[in-house]
């Protein structure tokens, strides 16, 4: 039983770390602020859920695993809300999104504030 528990938790943790790696690379490579919010909010949330769920499986049914589950619930609530608030603030304060039909696509370095 314990070996199956360990193997399943290793699978979950590795999958979560790969998803968080995808989120980090997305912050670097995506072209626009609004595209980067997409990368931060979605793949990071799923990665954190996977890693902490793997830790819950490794821990078993104890007091600490309930608290880890509370951390999952808090991250699921707070991380998309934070990204959405930042995106709304950027949109209201006048940051233009990068559109496809813009003929003169501005490079990252030219938008220096």
């Amino acid at each position: 039983m314990s070996e199956i528990q360990t193997i399943v938790s290793i699978i979950f943790i590795v999958a979560g770390i790969l998803l968080m790696f995808a989120g980090s690379v997305g912050i670097l490579r995506l072209p626009d602020f609004y595209a980067r919010t997409h990368s931060v909010s979605k793949s990071d949330t799923i990665g954190i859920i996977f890693v902490i769920f793997g830790l819950i499986i490794y821990e078993g049914f104890t007091h600490s695993s309930l608290k880890l589950f509370l951390i999952i619930m808090f991250v699921v609530l707070s991380n998309p809300i934070g990204s959405h608030a930042l995106g709304k603030a950027a949109l209201k304060s006048g940051l233009k999104p990068l559109l496809h039909h813009d003929k003169n696509l501005k490079k990252d370095e030219e938008v220096q504030q």
């Binding site: 360990t6 980090s24 602020f33 809300i81 990252d108």
Partner: protein, 91 residues
């Protein structure tokens, strides 16, 4: 299993260091804030892994909850501050 936790914590530290590049060279203020938010959310998992590594997960979980709440409140307050009409960006 301790070895696995150690290696995954090291890999996670490298992953956390990647958005620092966006913090340094981000073109707008919002990019920097977004990358800082990403670093703060990934540090939650790192503190959990360190707790399992030390065998004191019952203590480290409280630190994790406090860190998560503080990071969330900070991000929300900065977003609300930037939303106000006095801090608009002039194009």
């Amino acid at each position: 299993m301790e070895q696995f936790f150690l290696y995954s914590a090291v890999v996670l530290t490298i992953i956390i260091a990647v958005p620092l590049i966006r913090v340094v060279k981000g073109p707008t203020l919002y990019d920097r804030l977004l990358a800082t938010n990403a670093i703060a959310t990934k540090t939650i998992v790192l503190i959990c892994l360190i707790g399992f590594l030390f065998g004191r997960i019952d203590m480290f979980i409280d630190i994790t909850l406090a860190y998560a709440i503080l990071g969330f409140i900070g991000a929300m307050i900065i977003a609300k501050f930037l939303e106000s009409p006095k801090t608009r960006i002039e194009e």
